[in-house]
C-alpha cells in the first residue's frame, strides 16, 4: 500500500494523465469566470483573453513537465531536495502541500455554497461537505489508479452534458453582444490575462503526475491536450454567457454561468431546469479537483516524511474541513480563491523555471 512511485501497479496511461489534468483544471472557476474576466476586461473580447490565458498556462505546464522529466519516476517532493538541497527543498514541498490542501478546501466550500443556495436550501453546510469528503477519502485510499479510472468515467459525461446545455441556450444568444471584436484595442484584453490564466490552475499536478506515467516522455503532449480541452470549455462558456447576458449584465451576477442556464425555457421539452444538469457535472468536476489535490497533499506528506500514506490521508481530512469552514461569507470565499491563485502564480509559474535553470546548471537529473 506504499504509494511511493516505483511500485508497478501505480501506473497511469497518458490518456488517463490527460483526463486527470482536464478534470483538475475544470472546477469552481467555470461558474464565475465570465464575471471575473469581464470585470477586468470590460469589452466583449474576453474570449480572446481566455485563449491567451490558456496558452500561457500551456507554457507554464511545459516547463513543469521538462523539470519533472529530468528526474524520472520521482515526484517533486522527492527531487526538489536534489536541486536546492534538503532543507530548501523540504520547505518548498511543504508550501506546495499547503497549497494543495488549501485548494481542496476551497473547492469543497464553493461546492457547499452553490449547492446550499441552488439545490439543497436549508441543508446545513456541514451535512453537504461531510459525505462529499468521506467519499473522496474512500476514493484516494486506493491510490492514483482508482482516481484515474473514476476520472475517465466522469470525463465523457461532463463533455456531453456541457455541450448539450450550452447549445440549448442558443435561443437567448445575441451575436451583437459579442461585437465589436477588439473595438477598444488590445489593452483591455491584456488586463484580464491574469484572471483567465488562474482559471487554468491545475498544470502543477504534472509535478507529481509525470512520475506515475507509463510513458513520461509524452508528458508535453498530455499538457497540451489537457489544457486545450478546458480552453474550449471556457471559450464556449464566456461566449454563450456574454452573448445572452451582455457585458453589462454579466458583471452583476454572482454565478453568471448558472444564470445563463436559468434564463431560458424550451417549451415542449420534458425538462425545464437546465441548470441542474450543469450543476451535476459541475459538482463532479469539483469532486475530481478536490480528490486530486487531497491526494497530492497526502502524497507529499508521506514522501516528505518517508512514511506510509494512509495515516496522512486521514489526518488531512479534518484539516481540510476546518480550512473550508474559515471563510465567513461568500466574499471571503472569493478572496480566498484570489489569494490561493496569487500563491499559485508564484509557486508554479516562477518557481519551476528557476528550478529548471538551477538543475541545468548543476547538470542534475537526466539531461
Amino acid at each position: 500500500m506504499l504509494a511511493m512511485s516505483g511500485s508497478s501497479k501505480d501506473r497511469i496511461t497518458n490518456l488517463q494523465a490527460a483526463v486527470i489534468l482536464v478534470n483538475y483544471i475544470l472546477a469552481a472557476g467555470i461558474l464565475t469566470l465570465p464575471r471575473t474576466s469581464v470585470e477586468k476586461v470590460k469589452t466583449p473580447d474576453v474570449w480572446i483573453t481566455v485563449i491567451i490565458g490558456g496558452l500561457i498556462t500551456m507554457i507554464a505546464g511545459v516547463i513543469i513537465v521538462k523539470l519533472s522529466q529530468r528526474y524520472p519516476e520521482k515526484t517533486f517532493y522527492q527531487y526538489s531536495g536534489e536541486i536546492v538541497g534538503k532543507w530548501i527543498g523540504g520547505l518548498l514541498s511543504i508550501l506546495i502541500i499547503a497549497y494543495f490542501f488549501t485548494i481542496s478546501a476551497y473547492e469543497v466550500r464553493t461546492m457547499a455554497e452553490v449547492t446550499g443556495f441552488f439545490l439543497l436550501e436549508g441543508t446545513p453546510t456541514w451535512a453537504i461537505i461531510m459525505p462529499f469528503m468521506w467519499i473522496g477519502l474512500y476514493l484516494i485510499i486506493g491510490g492514483i489508479t482508482p482516481l484515474a479510472r473514476l476520472f475517465e468515467m466522469i470525463f465523457p459525461v461532463t463533455i456531453i452534458i456541457f455541450l448539450l446545455v450550452a447549445f440549448l441556450s442558443l435561443g437567448i444568444f445575441e451575436f451583437n453582444n459579442l461585437r465589436p471584436v477588439l473595438g477598444l484595442g488590445v489593452i483591455p484584453v491584456l488586463k484580464g490575462i491574469k484572471t483567465t490564466a488562474l482559471a487554468f490552475l491545475g498544470t502543477e499536478v504534472m509535478l507529481l503526475l509525470v512520475a506515475f506515467m507509463k510513458r513520461p516522455e509524452k508528458a508535453v503532449k498530455v499538457v497540451l491536450i489537457g489544457v486545450t480541452v478546458p480552453m474550449v470549455f471556457y471559450v464556449i462558456t464566456v461566449v454563450m454567457v456574454i452573448g445572452a447576458l451582455s457585458i453589462d449584465g454579466v458583471t452583476t451576477r454572482t454565478w453568471p454561468t448558472l444564470e445563463l442556464m436559468r434564463g431560458f425555457e424550451i417549451p415542449g421539452l420534458i425538462f425545464e431546469r437546465f441548470e441542474s444538469f450543469l450543476l451535476v457535472i459541475w459538482i463532479m468536476q469539483i469532486f475530481t479537483t478536490f480528490t486530486i489535490t487531497y491526494y497530492a497533499a497526502a502524497l507529499g506528506l508521506s514522501q516528505l516524511l518517508k512514511k506510509d500514506i494512509q495515516p496522512f490521508i486521514y489526518a488531512l481530512l479534518p484539516v481540510i474541513y476546518v480550512i473550508a469552514m474559515i471563510p465567513k461569507n461568500i466574499n471571503d470565499l472569493f478572496h480566498m480563491g484570489d489569494m490561493v491563485g496569487n500563491v499559485a502564480l508564484l509557486l508554479f509559474a516562477v518557481l519551476p523555471l528557476i528550478l529548471l535553470l538551477i538543475s541545468r546548471l548543476k547538470k542534475g537529473g537526466k539531461a
Binding site: 469589452t43 443556495f117 441552488f118 439543497l120 436550501e121 436549508g122 441543508t123 451535512a127 437567448i172 451583437n176 453582444n177 461585437r179 465589436p180 473595438g183 477598444l184 445572452a244 447576458l245 451582455s246 457585458i247 453589462d248 449584465g249 454579466v250 458583471t251 452583476t252 451576477r253 444564470e259 445563463l260 436559468r262 434564463g263 431560458f264 425555457e265
Partner: protein, 387 residues
C-alpha cells in the same frame, strides 16, 4: 463490555444512521404548495405617516384545489386561480406578510410573469423595484416583464373562470411571430444588461379593459433614470419592429389610389443600420428589406397577374412602412428623446471609440441625429386568387 455487546451496540448505531437516509431533507408536498405563476407590482398613494413609497404586491396563486375546480364537468364553481394582494414598503417583507393570508406555502419556482404598474414604473427606478426578483434564487430569471397601463393587478384578473391570466399573458407574447405589434419577450435575464448599460429600452405594455387583457404597444424606459417615461402605441410599435428588423410576420395595410385597402403580409424582414461618423457629426442609414405577399385587396378590377399592378401595390406598402418609421422616429427623437431601437448599439459596434465619448448623453445626442431611411418591399405572390 464484552465483544458481543459492543457488536450489538455498533449494529444498532448503524441502523440509527440509516434512518435519516429514508427522507429528503427539505421536501415539500405538492398539495401544500401555492404556486406563484404571476406577480403584479403597484405603487400605492403616498401614505402621510410613511416617508417612503408603499408597494402593493399581488401574487397569482395556483394550488391543487384551484386547478381541480376550474374544469370539473364543464361546470365551474370557482376561479382557476387565486390572487392575493398585500401592501408594504419593500417586496420581500410584503410577500412574507402573505403567509398570514394563505394556507399554502408560496412557491415561486414556476413564476412566469411580472407585471409592473404604470405609476410604480414612473416613480421608482426599475433597478430598485426588480432588485428582489433578480436576487432571489427561487424566481426563475426566464420570467417575463411587462408594464401595465394603469394598475398592474388588473391584468391578473379574468372574467373567465377557467383562464389563468398569468399563463394567458405568456401565451400572448408568442404572438410576436405573427404581428409587428408585439415586442420580442424581455426576460429578467435580459433586463439586467439593459438596466446596467444605461441605455433606453422598451418593455411590452399591457392593459386591462373590462376584465380583458390586451397588449397595447410598448413602454419606454429611459436609460438614465431607469424609469418609465411614456408609451408607444401599437402603430408606433410597428415602426419599431420595422427598424429592428426582428419581426417574423405581420401585416402592412395601405390604400391604393382609389382608397381601397391593400394588405401586404410580411414573409421576411431584414433591417440594416449603418452608422456614419464625420468629425463630430453622427448620422445613420436605415435600410429595410422585406419579402411578402398580397393577402387582401378590395379592388376587384385590378389584375394581380400584371407586374405593373404589383409594383403599384409595393409602392403603396413602402409608403406606409416609411410613414410608420418616420412617425416613431419622430416620437423617439423629439417626444421622448430616447433611443430604444438599437441605433446606439450599432454605433458602439462600428465606432467603439466614438461611442465611449457619446454614450453618457446618448439619448440627448440621438435626438438631433439625422437618420436616412430606405425601404424595399418585394411582393412574391398573391395567394391562391386573382379575384
Amino acid at each position: 463490555m464484552n465483544t458481543q455487546q459492543l457488536r450489538r451496540l455498533l449494529c444498532s448505531l448503524s441502523i440509527l444512521i440509516l434512518l435519516p437516509l429514508a427522507g429528503c431533507w427539505s421536501s415539500k408536498e405538492i398539495e401544500n404548495l401555492g404556486f406563484i405563476v404571476g406577480t403584479a407590482l403597484d405603487l400605492e398613494k403616498k401614505d402621510p405617516d410613511h416617508n417612503g413609497h408603499l408597494l402593493t404586491v399581488t401574487n397569482q396563486f395556483v394550488t391543487s384545489e384551484t386547478i381541480g375546480s376550474g374544469t370539473k364537468d364543464g361546470k365551474t364553481q370557482q376561479k382557476a386561480y387565486k390572487n392575493i394582494s398585500e401592501t408594504g414598503d419593500a417586496a420581500l417583507p410584503t410577500l412574507r406578510n402573505m403567509i398570514l393570508r394563505i394556507d399554502k406555502r408560496a412557491f415561486a419556482e414556476h413564476s412566469k410573469v411580472l407585471v409592473i404598474g404604470e405609476e410604480l414604473a414612473r416613480t421608482l427606478n426599475l433597478q430598485q423595484t426588480l432588485d428582489f426578483f433578480i436576487r432571489e434564487q427561487e424566481m426563475r430569471p426566464s420570467g417575463l416583464i411587462l408594464i401595465a397601463r394603469e394598475r398592474a393587478s388588473g391584468t391578473l384578473e379574468s372574467k373567465n373562470l377557467v383562464d389563468i391570466p398569468a399563463f394567458q399573458l405568456i401565451e400572448m407574447t408568442q404572438g410576436h411571430d405573427r404581428t409587428t405589434k408585439i415586442l420580442p419577450p424581455m426576460t429578467l435575464t435580459k433586463i439586467q444588461g439593459k438596466l446596467q448599460s444605461g441605455s433606453s429600452f422598451l418593455l411590452q405594455s399591457v392593459s386591462s379593459i373590462k376584465g380583458e387583457i390586451k397588449f397595447t404597444g410598448a413602454a419606454v424606459i429611459k436609460g438614465k433614470t431607469n424609469k418609465l417615461s411614456g408609451f408607444l402605441n401599437e402603430e408606433e410599435l410597428e415602426g419599431i419592429t420595422w427598424i429592428s428588423g426582428k419581426g417574423k410576420g405581420g401585416l402592412v395595410r395601405s390604400f391604393d389610389d382609389e382608397g381601397l385597402p391593400i394588405v401586404y403580409e410580411i414573409l421576411s424582414m431584414k433591417s440594416v443600420i449603418k452608422s456614419h461618423v464625420d468629425g463630430n457629426r453622427i448620422s445613420f442609414d436605415l435600410i429595410i428589406e422585406s419579402e411578402g405577399r398580397i393577402a387582401e385587396h378590395w379592388d376587384v378590377s385590378e389584375k394581380d397577374f400584371e407586374n405593373g399592378y404589383l409594383k403599384r401595390a409595393e409602392q403603396a406598402s413602402v409608403k406606409e412602412v416609411k410613414r410608420l418609421i418616420r412617425n416613431v422616429l419622430n416620437k423617439m427623437q423629439h417626444t421622448y428623446q430616447a433611443d430604444v431601437s438599437g441605433f446606439g448599439n450599432k454605433l458602439r459596434i462600428e465606432y467603439p471609440y466614438v461611442w465611449e465619448k457619446v454614450k453618457k448623453d446618448w439619448d440627448q445626442t440621438f435626438s438631433e441625429v439625422p437618420i436616412r431611411c430606405e425601404v424595399k418591399l418585394t411582393i412574391k405572390d398573391y395567394g391562391t386568387s386573382d379575384h
